[in-house]
Symmetry: C2
Subunit: 204 residues, 2 copies
DNA sequence: GTCTATAGAAGGATAGAC
DNA sequence: GTCTATCCTTCTATAGAC
């Protein structure tokens, strides 16, 4: 594949990412993707065959990116408190750079739950069980955190960081009334959230 | 309007609710709505003029229902701790009955943030400020809960209950690996969540 | 590899009979 | 009020020239 091919193919892919993230699979149009990429509609099919195949590639890449990031942020040997601080700092920073990604992934997964098979192998889930959950269990035994269901805790941690990006439309209109910028609200959460979770689970 | 009209109109509306909640505006088809309602496609237009108008009515009714429920659950004079217990109990129970509603509302609001104007007048926001926020402030002053930003706390409370319904596709595949039913996981949250929040904000 | 032109299917909407 | 038939636009996808 020549250098020029690569560039066109990537231009198309990047355009598709934008269009799909913004409109979703159902709301996206091949013509709009071609326009964004500055090329002809026929070229889309030359490179990616069909809308479905193009979408699948976009979805897989984004979902993997998000999941990788999530797991990487949790892959360290710090105690839970420090781990949470790092997690929220880095993970929120990531979502600030890709603010539409979470809503996109969740929406498409609800529309078509089987899609998850291409991203979400049990290998990655095992990572959670074996590392994060083991760590939580240890800190429970050491009497440092209270007894709480691991999975419930894990979902709570994710919910707190992801939700504002999923409910951005609603949140922004609430924030507007209170005269607050979405970005400022999110920025504050980098430190608010670890505090919120730690306070909830720490033995005192 | 005769009794029979009423019935047909409602049959159509109910069918539209199902289709739109499941597929979203972009993914829904007038023909499918007609099929669900057991009537002809032309009748849809007879009663509702266009897909857009039908969608708008469905969206408004659902969004209002969700928002009303939310605010009603918070409209009582109990202290924060008891209020939270009641809130999660009732609000989660509501979402169990309408599990697709939150994802639908949030998605459509992201696609088209202006839609919020028809639902979300500042009157309702004022309710929050004047009642819930005042109460939080009082409990802060009384030294019963720690100092935390009211809006951040409010969003956290909502995030924890709504997120599993928005991320259901992903969550279910995590739960499957752990051999847990979505319904059981949700049921447990009715008591897990108030505990989680209270522990986080209560002075000890 | 890239374009123009167009086929062909799908979906929203309406006309008109009953 | 409800149906059948059909119009017309939009969209995906392909054919074929360069």
């Amino acid at each position: 594949m020549s250098e020029k091919d690569k560039i066109t193919e990537e231009k198309i892919f990047d355009a598709a990412v934008e269009e799909f993230e913004e409109k979703g699979m159902d709301g996206s149009r091949m013509q709009k993707i071609a326009d964004r990429a500055g090329i002809n509609k026929a070229l889309l099919h030359y490179y990616y065959r069909s809308k479905d195949k193009l979408f699948q590639q976009v979805f897989d890449r984004l979902a993997n990116k998000l999941l990788d990031r999530l797991l990487n942020c949790l892959d360290n040997d710090f105690p839970l408190e420090k781990k949470l601080k790092l997690f929220y700092m880095e993970h929120i920073r990531f979502m600030q750079k890709h603010p539409k990604m979470p809503a996109f992934i969740f929406h498409e997964l609800n529309r078509n739950p089987e899609r998850i098979q291409t991203v979400f192998n049990s290998e990655r889930i095992r990572f959670l069980r074996e590392n994060l959950f083991r760590q939580i269990d240890e800190e429970k035994s050491a009497g440092e955190i209270r007894n709480i269901d691991n999975l419930q805790l894990f979902i709570n941690i994710i919910a707190l960081s992801a939700f504002p990006f999923v409910a951005r439309g609603l949140l922004e209109s609430i924030l507007k009334v209170n005269n607050i910028q979405f970005d400022d609200f999110i920025e504050a959460r980098k430190t608010e959230l670890p505090e919120f979770v730690i306070n909830s689970v720490k033995m005192k």
